[in-house]
């Protein structure tokens, strides 16, 4: 019943014409995938045309840059780094896109986007061997998180990726109080550690 109400409420928000861009950011941060897809679609065509005409990118490059640009926006929203826009979302996206194009032009004079490694960077300062080791460790942690299941996986992601406060996590999961949430989080981390130890043995 609760789920149905939340879904209905979100649909109402989606179709409100006066929804502000800051509300949109909050909705996307709260996991509204429909709105995310709509927003992705809204600027895509114009962005690709702009990259093609103003920056001489091929259409394929333009699409790849748009993906990366939109990922940066999405990542910033999810991780809480972007809560409020001081300009229009379109200006924000195009400014990121422009920087990405210029950065890439300066580096290679050609485009080389699209691989996960380019976007979800591990640590640029590490040498290749260390990066490989770390990537392997991160894959094991990903596997461990899948085995950990909910609510632990959600708690840890909210804590470490979404940078939510203990208060927010307490409210979202309906825990009794902040201490309960902290204890739950401590246990989840310990469980994750043990699962990964079992994977690596």
């Amino acid at each position: 019943m609760y789920f149905k109400w939340v879904t209905f409420e979100r649909l109402c928000i989606n179709f409100k014409k006066e929804m502000t861009e800051n509300q949109l950011i909050e909705e996307i941060r709260n996991g509204n995938q429909k709105l995310l897809a709509e927003t992705y679609h809204r600027y895509r065509k114009e962005f690709v045309h702009w990259a093609f005409k103003k920056h001489n990118c091929s259409l394929d490059d333009g699409k790849e840059i748009y993906q990366i640009t939109f990922f940066i926006f999405y990542d910033n929203v999810l991780s809480g780094k972007l809560e409020h826009l001081v300009s229009h979302l379109k200006t924000y996206l195009f400014a990121i896109g422009k920087n990405k194009i210029l950065e890439n032009n300066r580096r290679n004079n050609r485009f080389s986007f699209g691989t996960k490694e380019d976007v979800v960077k591990i640590d640029e300062d590490d040498d290749q061997e260390l990066q490989d080791i770390r990537e392997q460790q991160y894959q094991q942690i990903s596997e461990g998180l899948q085995k950990l299941g909910q609510p632990c996986k959600g708690i840890l992601e909210l804590m470490y990726y979404h940078n939510c406060s203990i208060k927010e996590i307490t409210e979202r999961f309906g825990f009794k109080n902040a201490d309960t949430t902290k204890n739950q989080k401590y246990k989840c981390m310990q469980r994750l550690k043990k699962i990964i130890e079992r994977i690596t043995v």
Binding site: Q33, L36, A37, Y40, R44, K45, V48, H49, F52, K53, L59, K63, Y66, Q67, F71, I72, Y74, D75, N76, L78, K81, L82, E83, H84, L85, V86, S87, T91, Y92, F94, A95, K98, N99, L102, E103, R106, K116, V119, V120, I122, Q137, Y138, Q140, I141, S142, L145, L156, E157, M159, Y160, Y161, H162, N163, K182, K185, Y186, M189, Q190, K193, I196
Partner: protein, 251 residues
Amino acid sequence: MKLNQEDINSIKIQRYLDGDMSVEERNEFEEELAADPALKSLTDTYRNLAEGIRYHARQNAWNTIQQLEAGYAGEDLEIVSSRTKIFPVYAVAASVAIIAIAFAYIINYNFNKSNRIFEEHFTPYQTLVNGPTRGEPISHSLEERAFSAYSNENYQQAITLFHEIDALENDPMIWFYLGNSYLAIDKPEEAATYFIKVLSQETVLTTQARWYLGLSHLAKGDLDEARALFRVLANDPTSYGEKAKSILSQI
């Protein structure tokens, strides 16, 4: 339920990494870390777990965007062609349009040129302060958060935070980074305001502020203003002098 030593250590490490300890507790724990390699190794394991969780979640976010793009597979994006059919009835209108475009081209020529030069030369100034990340026991001051946002190219957020700092203190360094942030989001007018403020004070950032103010003028299409600044900079013995000469040869 009684906690064993492993549980106690685990909780202590997590409180440390989550920034949940008082200064006294933290200092005490850091002394323990220095004296106990096993405890240090366990702390590194938990730090690595936090990093891995972040990485996993970012990968999921990236996969989501890739899936959205995959939904457009096979789509043929049309780019407006410059070749269109011309009917006799439109001939006069077309002639007028061509003349108008020619005028517009002449008017915009300087702007496009200066904008291109700006794009070739603009890179946001490097950060001298690194922001903290969760999992590291660093206090989250406003300044650290602002520079963290700036380093992550989150210029909107950086602007908001730099303005908050600016309201508390008059610091030319903050104005300088505000200028850079505005320039990075295509707001050269606002950027110029802050570089001018930096130049109104005697600071070590004078050369840099002059360079970025020149670039702001280029981005606005103010070639005369830009030229005047780069002429002054051309005499500078640093690399900015050379870069200014290079731009002067193009405008």
